[in-house]
């Protein structure tokens, strides 16, 4: 009698245990967002020039009027209200994963329409672009130079052909040459003006033997 009771208890315990696991599996939701691109694939994408739209190209696309792309302004609503590119939609960075923001990107991918992101400068759009690419959106591009640069592109405001300052990774000068020049100037001026310093070290004389510590 005792034995039977114990088996019953064991089976009941096992059933409960299994039930808990099953319920756990059923209620387990898959994560809302998942990466569609591995980090190494992302690294390769960084080298791909097709991911950036140059300001000149953007200008042409805007003037030609063909609507095969969507423009997304990632700046805050205040900046957006003060001025933005033609037909741009405002999705601040923090809103990308919100319901509206995310469904916008999903829909654009379904319709295979290119989305061009821009921020104040290229850096501001780079993070969101990398983020969306890593989620697996292949139709997302980024505007080189960002809004501030594009804004100066208005005729007569900036000479962008001779001053491609939207290429932020171009060194502004030859760094090593600058350092060499300035250090050689430094040495010259130092030898010209600085007289040798008179340093008179006076040595302490020992007067008697130390008695020694401890």
């Amino acid at each position: 009698m005792k034995d039977i009771n114990r088996t019953h208890r064991l089976t009941r315990a096992i059933i409960v245990f299994i039930l808990i696991i099953v319920v756990g599996f059923i209620t387990l939701k898959p994560p809302k967002f998942e990466y569609g691109l591995s980090e190494n694939e992302m690294l390769k994408e960084l080298q791909n020039p097709d991911n950036t739209v140059l300001p000149e190209q953007m200008k042409q696309m805007l003037s030609s009027g063909g609507k095969q792309y969507l423009l997304v302004d990632l700046r805050n609503p205040y900046d957006f209200s003060r001025g933005h590119l033609e037909n741009a939609i405002n999705i601040p960075v923090s809103e990308i994963l919100s319901e509206d923001g995310f469904s916008f990107f999903e829909e654009s991918e379904k319709n295979s329409v290119n989305v061009i992101l821009y921020g104040k400068n290229q850096l501001e759009a780079n993070g969101p672009w990398m983020f969306l690419r890593q989620l697996g959106f292949n139709n997302v591009q980024v505007l080189a130079g960002g809004y501030d640069f594009f804004h100066q592109l208005e005729p007569g405001k900036a000479d962008y052909i001779h001053k491609p300052n939207y290429i932020v990774e171009e060194p502004v000068m030859n760094f090593s040459e600058f350092i060499d020049q300035s250090t050689s100037e430094n040495i010259k001026s130092v030898t010209e003006q600085v007289k040798p310093e008179n340093v008179i070290p006076i040595k302490r004389e020992k007067k008697s033997g130390t008695a020694g510590g401890c």
Binding site: F33, Q134, P171, N186
Partner: protein, 205 residues
């Protein structure tokens, strides 16, 4: 009794089988996409050139500069004490020891700040902590620290403080800003006199 044990074994074996066929999780440490976006949207990773210059001059041991430019550019010029991990190699396992540390603040830099930021985002997805980006990169470093522009006369005094700091910093880092003004006072006679001890030391304790 033996039936229960058989039942238990079957359950255990079934459980093991389920575990074997569970979809493989690639990287447990990988940051959630939602968290990654929050990190990307957080601008506290950008350190100003002045702050970094300050810490380099103070020889702050808790800062490590990482140059993410190609090796050739690093070979030509790099900030003092910087190590080189080109952007393409940021994800190599060998470099994890440099980039994922608790005891050091790693400051990534490039010519601008785009490459450094890209490296930062790749590392952030991996969950690396204590990573920063030099705002403006070397280009801004040379504009602000190495060739400081004197503020206009009406500027607030902080601007002048910053300017004098930048002048000193440019000297420290080997730049040539306004050397003439600083070499004038260099003809002092420095006489070091040591105090003489008059009595016999009796020893410690």
């Amino acid at each position: 009794m033996s039936r229960t044990y058989i039942l238990l074994t079957i359950v255990a074996i079934l459980g093991a089988a389920v575990l074997v066929f569970l979809p493989e999780k690639k990287n447990q440490k990988e940051l959630d996409p939602e968290k990654l976006l929050m990190e990307i949207n957080n601008s506290s990773r950008y350190l100003s050139t002045d702050l970094v210059a300050h810490r380099l001059i103070e020889k702050d041991p808790s800062i490590l500069l990482v140059d993410v430019r190609p090796a050739a550019q690093y070979g030509e010029y790099a900030l003092p004490g910087a190590i080189n991990i080109p952007l393409e190699q940021v994800l190599l396992i060998d470099n994890e020891g440099y980039l994922n540390r608790n005891d050091l603040e790693i400051v990534l830099y490039s010519n601008g700040d785009l490459w450094a930021d890209q490296a930062w985002i790749l590392c952030a997805r991996r969950g690396y902590k204590n990573l920063y980006v030099l705002k403006g990169g070397l280009n801004h470093w040379f504009e602000s620290i190495m060739q400081p522009k004197s503020p206009s006369p009406g500027s607030p005094s902080q601007d002048f403080d910053m300017y004098s700091f930048r002048l000193a910093a440019s000297q420290y880092f080997g730049g040539g800003a306004n050397i003439e003004t600083n070499t004038e006072n260099s003809t002092e006679n420095v006489i070091i006199k040591r105090r003489e001890k008059k009595s016999v030391t009796a020893g410690g304790c």
